[in-house]
């Protein structure tokens, strides 16, 4: 039963691909997502160690990742039902199938205990999401998909090479070479240092390409800019979380092997560079989805920098990851709605959003404040804790730069958001067919409610989930 979250979506992907009726596919997609979420809750809540054999086992970080991915996907699935009703002119067979395939591969990543298997899972997510980006069938979306595929594949190939380097470091360290996390952690001190450092660097660049850390971020604005809103939500919330968990496991192994200082310095520098680049490129950005892409690059930089602050910040990093996943979901759903209502996604076509779509407009506005870490939302608490561990470790410059880049990001995003939401909507927008439905607004409201709840009072079960994951991942100096 324990591998249901992985197998169910893959099986249903095939079923959905074969069902003829265009109306039933989204409903099946939503049903599978609900079933997947139920299974996940059962597994995560239950104490039984889920998984088969040594390679596929759900440990504490895996549980957290599965929970986040499953809930986010459920919201995306429900949103897709409403969204696809407005996109009847498009064939949604491949869309629904690939969505479920993405869910399956993301669940696989949560289960993976083996570096190679982890690589297979992440490569599978890339291949599953490529056709989703191509949903709009325009010249720009082809180019976006092409760049997404090539850069991600090259990145992940480097990650595979990195995994082999780590394996080889284990081989050099005596004992039989194994690429299971458990064994690597156990034999960490004996790993050969240069190979391990080279392996970590390759993995950081590889999975960093999936995360969208600078300078591997170039595909992100194109991919998020051309993909439908809901795909953006999955990419920004789900895929990046999977890649980030892979990176966290690697950091843990490197730290256990005594190379913590090297790894953390690399993470902090790359994190800050990403935040700087994202902040700079967001200034004067006129395209709403590209703005969200840069915001995602900035958040990933923030997470990388936070994970580089040492074991004290692990809880805050994971908490911020959860907040970011749901926060980005809200923003992408709202932008999707605005895109449908205004028929465009740059501030030239989109203005007067609050008047044309009062609910989505308000959600987008509150989402801006949630994502940029304003109280009373969740990211505020996690960013406060991250800053606290930075100041606690006496790293004033890192803390100062962190605050400066947050301000830069707010300046960039705020200008675009206000340009889109304030003022009077153009006449063409008022006549467009789009009306706010339950399915297109409820997921965003639920996710925003969650983010607000996390800010006001983090519920105990979720807190223990994050604390266990943090304890499992925080090892070494």
């Amino acid at each position: 039963m324990t591998l249901v979250p992985v197998l169910l979506p893959l099986a249903m992907a095939v079923v959905v691909f074969l069902t003829p009726s265009k109306l039933w596919r989204p409903r099946l997609l939503a049903a599978t997502a609900a079933a997947h979420f139920a299974a996940t809750v059962a597994i995560v809540a239950g104490e039984a160690p889920a998984g088969a054999g040594a390679w596929l086992r759900l440990d504490a970080p895996g549980r957290l990742l599965l929970g986040v991915v499953s809930l986010l996907f459920l919201a995306c699935a429900v949103y897709s039902v409403g969204y696809l009703r407005y996109r009847v002119e498009r064939e949604n067979r491949r869309f629904c199938a690939c969505m479920l395939a993405a869910l399956g591969s993301m669940s696989l990543v949560a289960y993976a205990q083996h570096l190679g298997l982890l690589w297979v899972g992440i490569e599978a997510t890339t291949l599953a999401t490529a056709p989703l980006i191509y949903f709009n069938r325009t010249a720009r979306s082809i180019e976006a998909t092409w760049k997404y595929l090539v850069i991600s594949s090259v990145g992940i190939a480097l990650a595979l090479l990195g995994s082999f380097f780590v394996g080889y470091a284990a081989l050099l360290g005596g004992g039989e070479a194994s690429m299971l996390f458990g064994d690597l952690l156990a034999s960490a001190p004996s790993l050969s240092k240069p190979w391990l450092r080279a392996g970590f660097t390759l993995l950081l660049v590889g999975y960093g390409a999936k995360l969208g850390l600078a300078p591997m971020h170039t595909w992100k604005p194109d991919a998020y800019g051309e993909a439908p809103g809901v795909v953006g939500a999955i990419l920004a919330g789900g895929l990046t979380s999977c890649a980030f968990f892979a990176l966290l496991r690697l950091t843990q192994i490197t730290a256990a092997a005594g190379e913590g200082v090297y790894a953390r310095r690399l993470l902090v520098v790359m994190g800050l560079v990403s935040m700087a680049v994202a902040g700079a490129l967001m200034l004067g950005q006129r395209d709403l989805k590209r703005m969200l892409a840069y915001s995602s690059v900035e958040q990933m930089g923030l997470l990388a920098m936070a994970s580089g602050l040492g074991p004290t910040a692990t809880f805050a990093t994971l908490f911020h990851l959860v907040n970011n996943a749901f926060g980005k979901g809200v923003m992408f759903f709202a932008v999707g709605n605005l895109h449908r209502a205004f028929g465009g996604k740059t501030t030239v076509e989109v203005h007067g959003g609050l008047r044309r779509l009062p609910l989505s407009g308000t959600l987008f506005f509150l989402g801006l404040f949630a994502v940029t870490g304003s109280p009373p939302f969740g990211p505020f608490v996690s960013e406060l804790l991250i800053l606290q561990s930075a100041f606690g470790a006496g790293r004033w410059i890192v803390g100062g730069l962190f605050l400066a880049f947050l301000l830069l990001a707010f300046a960039g995003m705020g200008a675009t958001t206000l340009a889109a939401l304030q003022g009077r909507p153009p006449r063409s927008a008022r006549r467009s067919v789009y009306r706010e439905r339950f399915t297109t607004c409820a997921p965003a409201i639920v996710l925003l409610g969650l983010v607000l709840l996390f800010g006001l009072h983090l519920p105990v079960p979720i807190r223990t989930l994050i604390e266990d994951a943090a304890a499992a991942l925080a090892v070494g100096p």
């Binding site: 180019e143 760049k147 090539v150 850069i151 090259v154 480097l158 240069p194 450092r197 080279a198 970590f200 660097t201 390759l202 660049v205 390409a209 300078p215 591997m216 170039t218 595909w219 194109d222 190379e259 090297y262 790894a263 310095r265 690399l266 680049v277 700079a280 490129l281 200034l283 004067g284 404040f369 940029t372 304003s374 109280p375 009373p376 969740g378 505020f380 608490v381 960013e383 406060l384 804790l385 800053l387 606290q388 100041f391 803390g399 605050l403 947050l406 301000l407 707010f410 705020g414 200008a415 206000l418 304030q422 003022g423 009077r424 996390f454 800010g455 006001l456 009072h457 983090l458 807190r463």
Partner: protein
């Protein structure tokens, strides 16, 4: 006399109830249909009741019924969240209830423009946030209430968002308030580092000097921006001008005082503050006071002018606070008492007369339809009551006897000049002449405003057709005017409130206010002045009444000029031209003077405008330069896939070499 931490005191319960009522006042409106009048009535009713509860709670808290905390759900176990009412909280929430309640009445009477529902919701939430900020006993609640205040303030500023200038004002405000949020992040974290907890715990004297200075600088930046002290003030004029009048009254009179509350409490926490802090505050206060009024002189938008005056009064408040800090550093409790008393009393006084002026301005703008004072004129004859209240407000804000502005300025003067007696501290007296000059300039500014808006002949059709404000609008003005007179005539009434707030400030033993300040003499002087004035007026009243009856339509003698027109009168820019030319180096006025080129001069126009120098000459060019810089950065990728992969390689290869060869610090 603090009750055990567990049981919340009566004052706290009243204050929290008031905050709850405010927050809920707007919600009813959302449920009802847009056109129904009930939404407005419920909101106004809820806010009025809330204000009354709050006033009771505030006085109780001031009366020393402090202590007792109300725990709140905190996001994480490590972060404690609680509310508690102390004398300082009581002191700073009273203006919120008075001005907030009266503002709601004024808004109802005023017939707020479209977007009424959102306006009422945000107005209620803003009042709630303003109530909870002083009550917050820890960083988390403070920050949450602070952000709710910032957000609702933004929505209130951007009420008429179809106008691009309003959107720009809203955006600049939002950016500045985000800077305050981030500064507060760092501030509370530093406090947690120094005192081990987010709660406002005293910072020991032996804490590392670097961190204490950082706390001071961060507090100054975060709360200085909120209070609108110069050079951090650029968001304030445009924001207060574009908000509806009763909201501007609340923002100018009360919301910026939250910044002062933050500064006062944070500085109160630090034990044995260095002298440099007091000197910085004195310098900032002088700068804000003098240039606040100088910029106000250059304005001809009524509400922008009043906003700049808020900056001037914040300067005076900072002078008081600076004096108090100098007193603490040099161990002179009498200066500390004078300084903090002047600071706190001026917070109340400014809340009173500034709201009165903004209500008056709201009535004028409502009557004449524009904020341009050059289009108004002769309104005193058509709106006598509003004119009288505005005049009283103007006299009060200039700090002229017998009203309340004079009392708080006198306290600050006493402290500053007192410092002149000892040679070593003579430098502390230097701000006194600056404050005097500010008083003189404020007089010039308000003679200009009152004279041009209310006196003389109407300069536009709208002004000549102006109608008196409705009774619901005049009532709040009457209450505020009465309060100004009472505080001016009998400062003894407010002395106990100030003393209990001052005592709660730093816990140091301070002398009683009456020992250091001649409150009794001030009352006698004020009453004597009013009595003598009334006597003189009564003497010449019959003569003038007879003159009015015999020659009712006597025109003003204008040297027999045939076609005299209202446009002959002095306008805002011409009246202040003497002073603005003296300060041209700071104001940088944009003057569009006509150049007569042809023989027969065609009709031309003269227009002079004073924009905000810090914003237009410093910040906007810097922002444009940043945009240009990022634009060049953006051109880098040019969309080529090969180039993207080259970037990845460029990063990967050196890192690999470094990893394999160098080794990360074995």
């Amino acid at each position: 006399m603090t009750a055990p931490a567990g049981t919340p005191s009566a004052a706290l319960l009243l204050l929290v109830a008031a905050g709850g009522l405010f927050a809920a006042s707007g919600l009813a409106g959302l449920a009802l249909p847009r056109r129904s009048r009930w939404g407005a009535r419920i909101a106004t009713g809820a806010i009025s009741i809330g204000s009354l509860l709050g006033l009771a709670g505030g006085f109780l808290a001031l009366g020393g019924d402090a202590g007792g905390e109300l725990a709140l759900p905190s996001p994480l176990p490590g972060l404690r969240a609680a509310l508690g009412a102390g004398p300082l909280a009581g002191f700073f929430t009273l203006p919120v209830f008075l001005v907030g309640g009266l503002g709601a009445l004024f808004g109802a009477g005023h017939g707020t423009p479209h977007g009424g529902r959102r306006l009422r919701l945000c107005y209620g939430l803003l009042l709630a946030a303003l109530t909870f900020i002083p009550l917050a006993r820890d960083g988390i609640t403070f920050l949450v209430a602070w952000e709710v205040m910032a957000l609702t303030n933004f929505f209130l500023i951007a009420t008429e968002e179809s106008d691009a200038a309003v959107r720009r004002a809203g955006w600049i405000y939002l950016l500045y308030s985000h800077v305050t949020i981030l500064a507060l992040f760092a501030l509370f974290l530093l406090e947690r580092l120094l005192t081990g907890d987010f709660a406002f715990a005293p910072i020991a004297a032996d804490a590392p000097a670097g961190l204490r200075t950082a706390v001071f600088v961060l507090a100054l930046v975060a709360f200085g921006i909120k209070a609108g002290a110069m050079p951090l003030h650029s968001w304030l004029p445009a924001a207060h001008a574009s908000a509806p009048s009763h909201v501007s009254a609340l923002m100018s009179g009360v919301v910026i005082k939250v910044g002062i509350y933050g500064l006062v409490t944070t500085l109160g926490l630090v034990e044995a503050p260095p002298l440099a802090w007091g000197v910085t505050l004195l310098a900032l206060g002088s700068l804000s006071a003098l240039f606040g009024v100088v910029f106000a002189l250059g304005q001809h938008d009524l509400k922008r002018l009043l906003a700049y005056h808020s900056i001037e009064n914040i300067g005076i408040i900072l002078l008081g606070l600076g004096l108090a800090m100098v007193g603490r550093s040099l161990g002179r409790p009498d200066w500390t008492m004078l300084g903090i008393a002047g600071c706190l009393l001026h917070v109340w006084n400014h809340a009173l007369f500034k709201s009165l002026l903004f209500f008056g301005a709201g009535a004028v703008v409502h009557a004449t339809g524009s904020r341009e004072i050059d289009l108004a004129g002769g309104l005193a004859r058509r709106m006598p009551a509003t004119a009288a209240f505005f005049l009283l407000g103007s006299v009060a804000i200039c700090g002229l006897p017998p009203l309340n502005g004079f009392v708080s300025e006198l306290l600050v003067f006493l402290g500053l000049v007192g410092a002149a007696s000892a040679p070593a501290t003579a430098w502390a007296a230097l701000p006194a002449p600056v404050l005097a000059a500010t008083g003189g300039l404020a007089l010039a500014c308000f003679v200009k405003v009152y004279g041009i808006v209310f006196l003389g002949t109407p300069r536009s059709a709208a002004a000549s057709a102006a109608r008196e404000a409705t009774p619901l609008e005049l009532a709040p003005m009457a209450v505020l005017a009465f309060a100004c007179v009472v505080v001016g005539a009998a400062p003894g009434f407010v002395a106990p409130a100030i003393e209990s707030a001052a005592a709660a400030w730093t816990g140091e033993r301070l002398p009683r206010l009456a020992e250091v300040a001649p409150l009794g003499s001030i009352s006698i002087a004020a009453l004597a002045l009013v009595a003598a004035g009334a006597l003189a007026v009564a003497a010449i009243a019959p003569l003038c009444r007879r003159a009015r009856r015999r020659q009712p339509a006597l025109p003003t003698w204008d040297c027999g000029y045939a076609a005299s027109s209202p446009r002959l009168q002095y306008t805002a820019s011409s009246f202040a031209e003497l002073i603005t030319s003296q300060f041209a180096w700071a104001l940088r006025p944009h003057v569009h003077a006509p150049r007569i080129t042809e023989l027969f001069a065609r009709p031309t126009s003269f227009h002079s405008q004073v924009d905000d120098t810090v914003l237009d000459r410093l910040l906007l060019p810097a922002a444009r330069a940043a945009l240009r810089a990022t634009a060049s950065l953006r051109a880098l990728p040019q969309g080529q896939l090969q180039r993207y992969i080259l970037y990845i390689l460029a990063v990967l290869v050196p890192l690999l070499v470094w990893a394999l060869v160098g080794g990360g610090g074995e």
